[in-house]
């Protein structure tokens, strides 16, 4: 069993969001970078659990990013990946990124490709579906539970308005969210071991991007809260009805 887990780097969830260069670039000065939570907590940890129940499983990590992504990918290796591939490119175009991942996936002949549900910075929730189409594989989006029996995967996933259970033959692409696994903290042994695990850097295959970010914009600041005295909550109901007209 060979699993490819897609790992992306995002600003820490508490990072201040600001832009520079005439609002065309994210202000990354002083920003702490983390593994995108969906990739780390759900996709990667579930892959590690599958390896724990079948030690012949091999987990490869792939990231499309520049050298500043290396600390992130090392942390993912410390949690439990076997080796990592970094495609040396900087892009926010989903099609470009998906094409790079698909290329790695083709070369490695994986049984399973796991992605996170979405990146918490660019919020595309697109890469998994695109990779699946590029590989012509089934795509199960938004998985909350994943079990494997031989080459048959049983997956619970979220659909609009509810949940459903799918049975699918490998190979396939799955996007992972809450429910798949529980967050883990890397231990000392993992951190030491990660240093000697292979991290291969490859150059991107030439692909034309479909989109580009022209500029960023911050939402207007809130006017400030209007406080209603605690001994008169009825006044809140009146305001919401008569003034804000939301109830």
């Amino acid at each position: 069993m060979k699993i490819l887990v897609c790992i992306s780097k995002t600003p820490d969830t508490t990072a201040k969001i600001a832009f520079t260069d005439n609002n065309t670039k994210f202000a990354s000065d002083g920003v702490q970078w983390i593994i995108n939570p969906y990739d780390e907590w759900y996709a990667l940890v579930r892959a590690i659990e599958l390896k724990e129940s079948d030690p012949t499983t091999v987990i490869h990590l792939v990231t499309v990013g520049q050298a500043d992504t290396d600390p992130i990918i090392r942390k993912a290796l410390a949690l439990g990946g076997d080796e990592a591939i970094r495609v040396n490119a900087d892009s926010h175009d989903s099609f470009f990124i998906a094409s790079q991942i698909a290329e790695i996936a083709k070369q490695g002949n994986y049984d399973l490709v796991f992605t996170g549900k979405e990146t918490i910075d660019y919020n595309g929730s697109s890469i998994g579906g695109m990779v699946a189409e590029l590989l012509d594989l089934p795509y199960v989006s938004l998985a909350i539970k994943f079990a494997l029996d031989g080459t048959t995967a049983t997956i619970e996933r979220e659909i609009e308005g509810g949940e459903e259970t799918n049975k699918v033959q490998l190979p396939l692409v799955v996007s992972c969210q809450k429910g798949m696994a529980e967050q883990r903290i890397p231990n000392m042994k993992g951190i030491m071991g990660a240093r000697s695990k292979p991290l291969k850097v490859v150059e991107p295959t030439p692909v034309e991007a479909y989109t580009s970010i022209a500029s960023f914009e911050l939402p207007p600041a809130k006017a400030g809260v209007r406080l209603i005295p605690a001994d008169n909550p009825e006044e809140l109901v009146r305001i919401l009805h008569e003034e804000a007209r939301v109830i």
Binding site: T14, I17, P37, S94, F95, A98, I120, Y122, N123, G124, S125, S126, G129, M130, A132, E133, L137, P138, Y139, S141, L142, I144, E158, I159, E160, G161, G162, E163, E164, T165, N166, K167, V168, Q169, K178, Y210, T211, S212, I213, A214, F216, E217, L218, P219, K222, A223, V225, R226, L227, I228, A230, P233, E234, L236, V237, R238, I239, L240, V246, I247
Partner: protein, 321 residues
């Protein structure tokens, strides 16, 4: 050339988020001077002609029970065939869970740039540029699509439904339907509840409510207001509430007209999922709770004292005994 809107259905009813997508598609088509059309996949809903009121001229139905379950691979093939046959140049989806499964695949198949999470009509005068949410609602990006065909997934609750007179022509489209490689062994749809992402009002509770036994304060108010219920992450993690209610950076992102936060501190990761709400009301006993900075209205007080009074006042307002 045309704008083609994917119409997602639930038990024969077109979803509200798809009606928003239809209104958006019609407004965009008008801007581009082309017709707006729609497509339904799977067993057909009743009276699709009435969708003309949202500005759609024609509805293509790919009416086959084999398509009743969502398989992104199968859907992609039939939608690509339709888009190519009809010469659609812009495709519009709702950025709901169906859109998230299908639009990316279709983007690859049609070699069409995708913007997922759009919040406004595109700028079309120079380069085709779409405003979308980024950084989990903390900012917007203006994204240019450079391919001839374009796909836009519209965030639910970010474009108002516009309806006027009009009847759409309904035509069946005979697509080649592949055998699905995904077997659906069970489906569990929540019936009767307002789906969180489509709800106009959301009442949400946090750890300040102390335990699941007190959730009546949330659900009673929600019922009175016809609202959906939500919760903070720790509340779902300790199983006070089901995980699908968890909103925030790692949960669901919502943008209702009214978000009612009860006993929630307003951590930055929570705000990331709710800060697009049009009006935010916060009830918290701690005046320093960060949520007050993001709120429009607030009460600094104990939820166990304040909420029963609010519920009584809303009952009175709604004429409920």
């Amino acid at each position: 050339m045309s704008v083609l809107v994917f119409l997602d259905q639930a038990d024969g009813q077109i979803r509200k988020s798809s009606l928003e997508a239809a209104s958006y598609g019609a407004a965009l088509a008008e801007k581009l001077g082309v017709p707006a059309e729609g497509v339904t996949v799977g067993t057909v809903a009743n009276d699709l002609g009435s969708l003309g009121q949202y500005g759609l001229k024609k509805i293509h139905t790919i009416n086959n029970p084999a398509l009743d379950n969502l398989d992104a691979q199968v859907y992609t093939k039939v939608l690509a065939e339709l888009a190519t046959t009809t010469g659609a140049t812009v495709l519009v989806f709702s950025n709901n869970l169906t859109g998230k499964a299908v639009a990316p695949r279709l983007s690859v198949r049609l070699k069409a740039g995708l913007v997922a999470g759009a919040v406004a009509l595109p700028e079309t005068s120079a380069v085709f540029t779409v405003k979308k949410n980024v950084f989990s609602g903390k900012a917007f990006a203006h994204v240019s699509i450079t391919t001839p065909i374009k796909i836009i997934s519209l965030n639910p609750n970010s474009f108002s439904i516009v309806s006027k007179e009009g009847v759409a022509e309904v035509v069946d489209f005979a697509a080649t339907i592949d055998q699905s490689k995904v077997e659906v062994t069970s489906v569990n749809k929540v019936v009767g509840e307002v789906p969180l992402t489509e709800a106009e009002i959301v009442v949400s509770g946090g750890r300040g409510l102390k335990g699941p036994e007190n959730w009546g304060l949330v659900t009673d108010l929600a019922k009175l207001l016809g609202a959906a219920t939500a919760c903070s992450r720790p509340v779902a993690d300790i199983n006070w509430r089901p995980h699908h209610e968890h909103v925030g950076q790692t949960g669901i992102a919502i943008a209702p007209n009214l978000y009612f936060a009860i006993g929630i501190s307003g951590a930055i990761q929570h705000l990331a999922g709710v800060n697009r709400s049009k009006t935010i009301v916060v009830i918290n006993k701690d005046p320093e709770a960060p949520f007050f900075k993001a709120a429009d209205y607030g009460i600094v007080g104990d939820v166990f004292e304040v909420m029963p009074k609010i519920i009584t006042a809303v009952k009175k307002l709604k004429g409920v005994a």
